[in-house]
Amino acid sequence: MIQVAQLFKQFDKTEVLKDIHMTFEDGKTYAIIGSSGSGKSTFLRCLNGLENPTSGSIIIDGVDIVKNEKELPKLRQHIGMVFQSFNLFEHKNATDNVTFALMKVKKISEDEARKIALAKLKEVGCDHRATHFPHQLSGGEKQRVAIARALAMEPSVMLFDEPTSALDPEMTVEVLKVMKQLTHTGMTIIVVTHEMNFAKEVSDTVIYMDKGEIVEIGSPKEFFEETKTARARQFLANML
């Protein structure tokens, strides 16, 4: 369980997050939506300490990561992250991208790591690209390899930061398909996305953010069909 309370984040004088309160329950899928600059990516990046909050608390399995920065490297092994720009290691092929952290963080032997990597690449449908380097992969394949890399660490939480924003529609479909499979595995999944259909069909809870605040939280049905706030209604009107 991840409990966020009174979370503030400032960049210089700009307030990016204002008094965020949120509880993420285990095994559920959350979609964070909102227009650009709403603070949704910053919020997500706070959850594994890639951003340092200005104040507040983020308690993950009983540990407040805002106060215990030293716990972060250990904690990050249980929190996978997938980025908008894939961020694959350009000098390593798909397999080595996956085995790297297994060997260096989990200290798994190379043979064992390779087996895990191939299994995970198969899971995301990229086993035929095992020896390809990132520059030889399509955008969709890159993102799926990045997902395999995160999954190989067997995290209990997966964070997705606009995973399909850099992809064309066809590739978006392949990546969303893989993400959809993950929702049945018991992992907590938190996705920052512009894909309204994904939020609608796959998530358990939709979080709408605007100007650094959480404006509305609800089930997809509540949020899309019985929108409570004027701001969310305006946002949805602009999206459709």
Binding site: L50, L75, Q77, S85, E90, N93, F100, A150
Partner: protein
């Protein structure tokens, strides 16, 4: 044309033995220059005392001529520190190491800064330590980015070893001057020296091209 090798021929082995000195200075300079330059490149951007000291050091070696650095070390410092009497050869090895370390540190720093920060973030998110990220993600890619510039620096270094002749190091150019002093025929030994340098540099740049080719990303070098 007034070309006649007869008086120079007996001295050819003597001149060519200078290559060993030239290569020794170049290799020592390249090796320690790389080592020191690498360490400098990791700290030169830091906003602390260490970073400032390294930046000052780099600035000094890039901001003054090589011949001044050699003279200063060889003739200047012994006046201030009486017991300090480095030979010309020792001076050359030390100054060439330090001088190339300054240039290599700048080259490597540029290579490090050119790496997309997203990869470093991805490693962080996977729980990889800063040390492993530096060794396995940053350094290999930085090296690949700047390999042509490094080869270039080694070529410059090899050519500049000739400056060491000015403080009396018995490298190939110095030997040419000594022979000319006996034969009064500068053209023939100079021709020999020019060809020798050219061949040396050619070998170095072909070797550099080979390494560059090997380091290109391609699936043929995949390990599975």
């Amino acid at each position: 044309m007034n070309i006649d090798f007869t008086s120079t021929i007996p001295y050819i082995p003597y001149i060519l033995q200078g290559i060993i000195i030239t290569i020794q200075i170049a290799i020592v300079g390249a090796f320690f220059g790389s080592l020191i330059g690498f360490l400098f490149s990791l700290v030169s951007h830091r906003k602390n005392f260490l970073g400032a000291t390294v930046r000052g050091f780099i600035d000094f070696f890039r901001g003054t001529p090589l011949i001044f650095q050699l003279s200063f070390f060889h003739y200047g410092l012994p006046q201030i520190f009486p017991g300090f009497l480095p030979t010309a050869f020792q001076t050359a090895m030390i100054i060439f190491s330090l001088n190339s370390s300054a240039y290599l540190a700048e080259i490597l720093r540029a290579g490090i800064e050119a790496i997309d920060k997203g990869q470093i973030e991805a490693a962080k998110a996977l729980g990889v330590s800063k040390f492993y990220t530096t060794i396995h993600i940053i350094i290999p890619q930085a090296l690949r980015n700047v390999l042509p510039a490094i080869v270039n620096e080694f070529i410059t270094l090899t050519k500049e070893t000739s400056v060491a002749s000015a403080i009396g190091v018995q490298e190939i150019l110095r030997r040419q001057a000594i022979v000319t002093g006996t034969t009064y025929r500068p053209f023939e030994p100079l021709l020999l020296v020019g060809v020798t340098y050219y061949v040396l540099i050619k070998i170095l740049s072909i070797f550099g091209k080979m390494v560059e080719k090997r380091l290109k990303y391609d699936s043929s070098s995949a390990t599975i």
